[in-house]
Amino acid sequence: MSFMDHLPILVVIIPLLTAPLCVLLNRPILAWFVSILSALISFFIAIQLVFQVNELGTISYWLGGWEPPWGIEYRIDLLAAYVLLIVTAIASLVMLFAKKSVEKEIPENRIAYFYAAFMLAFAGLLGIVATGDAFNVFVFLEISSLSSYALISMGKDRRALNASFTYLIMGTIGATFILIGIGSLYMMTGTLNMADLAARLPEVADTRTVRAGFAFLTVGVGLKLALFPLHLWLPNAYAYAPSVVTAFLAATATKVAVYLLIRIILGVFTLDFSLQLMPLDTLLVTLGLIGIISASLVAVYQGDIKRMFAYSSVAQIGYMVLGIGLATTTGLTASILHLFNHALMKGALFIALGAIAFRIGSTSIKDFSGLGKRMPWTMAAIVAGGLSLIGIPPTVGFISKWYLVLAALELELWPIALLILVGSILAVIYIWRLVEAAYFGKPNPYQYVQEAPLSMLLPLWILVIANFYFGIQTDFSIGLASSAASELSGVGR
């Protein structure tokens, strides 16, 4: 095997092995350096993988040299490569932003451990995406979850601890549900490999055990996904976690969970099973819509901007789930597009909030008064991210909403299209509150505030520019999303 054949595993184990390295080095600056280095390396590997998959089709990598289903398989198809790309890109940018922010928010003797945990969360997410084995998903899910609990609990406020504990309980229930689901499927088929499961499930699809297994998997992933009404852990977890953690998790963790949901519904079970035997489409559409509207409404009333955007994340997850629930290729394309686009906007927004927290030590809306003048670049980035969140052309937010509305109209579901627009209007309201405070409010005279440092502005503006670039130059993202969507829903698997 040549070096290039090993890329699917290298993208995961490089960050994974960086974690113990951080602990051995135990110096903040060194730990940061190896972490950003490994994030960048895995980003380049992910780019390479996208090209490889595009040219040669799905890659299968046999871990330990054992052929599946006896051994564990890494399976990178177009969608997986695409999600790997998103996660590694965000991780690299967040790491760039992390240096100063972490120095400020984390006690110095814990910084090396912090980066180690961060790398584990990162590698865990990548592992979930890359693997083709159902049980392996569980293992890597736990790697990323456990490290996320620790990372969230590092927030300065004591509420971070409570949020982290709630997340731990909910997350572990979710993981155990997933375990039950995997167990039932294994019981009926005798295999754990996802492709093999897909091949063997139709035979036993009509049994109660398989149906219940499906239900447990969906609910379990729904918990991780923060799908309405299982989202209760998310707002506080995001609001009180250190800025770096929020920026990273908000932009990636829920995306990976959405990916997992797509994998289970379309990859392991077929569309026919998911939608005809189980009333999943109606369920997902309903929950998605309620999620969009209710979370957006709550977001309007939040005093803390970080929490406001956390609720907005719940709403955005609603959009993605809605797209899956529509169960057409266009709907799926919209979901996958939104996966990418939402990572760009939330990454930008939370990094900007991190920069503000770095300078003024708070993200309460009261402290935003007059910030437009004092931190012009950061605030401009927030406004740009906000425009994207609302879905105003020429941002990426517009593109994914456009596709979503299109998908709804294809099925002649006018009310859904209308509700999507209502969601956008609510977004206008909560973004406007922010703009009003920042640009029309009076600055606090007792506060001396500087613009954020360059190491924060750089990743921030890369993301902002990406928000516009991919909003205008849509070939890359739409091309990838629609071919991934048709690969999933089209050819049998």
Partner: protein, 134 residues
């Protein structure tokens, strides 16, 4: 049609699982929640191991002369899952200890009440630069 003894094992497991699950979601004490969580998980382990059993089978360690072994795969999976479970419990306990130090309580209701107070304080107080360094 359905032979009860055949699935009796599973029914017992379901009962145990639900007992654990109930403790997790209904109890207010954080440590008890963790105990419930491990109860819940342990029951899932029994579910896996039950499905690997073959009547009359041997433990899956190669012995001359034996031909029927129970299925080793569920055992492997559960070994992994047990470890994951204890890791989760350890992290959970560490958080509980910190929660107790920060809130002086390990009861969910009391903690949530204090959180609400914190929320109100953040809403009211105009923050000054000095507030950030705790």
């Amino acid at each position: 049609m359905i032979e009860l003894p055949g699935i009796y094992n599973y029914l017992v497991v379901v009962f145990l699982m639900m007992a654990g699950f109930y403790v997790v979601i209904a109890q207010g004490n954080l440590i008890k929640k963790l105990v419930g969580l491990s109860l819940f998980q342990t029951s899932v382990f029994i579910f896996y191991i039950s499905m690997g059993k073959i009547s009359g089978g041997e433990a899956p360690i190669f012995v001359e002369g034996a031909s029927l072994y129970s299925n080793p795969l569920p055992h492997v999976l559960i070994l992994t899952a047990i470890v994951v479970g204890v890791a989760t419990t350890a992290v959970g306990l560490a958080i509980v200890v910190r929660i107790h130090e920060a809130y002086g309580s390990v009861e969910e209701d009391e903690i949530n009440a204090k959180d609400l107070v914190d929320d109100a304080i953040t809403e009211e107080a105009p923050s000054v630069n000095s507030r950030e360094s705790q």
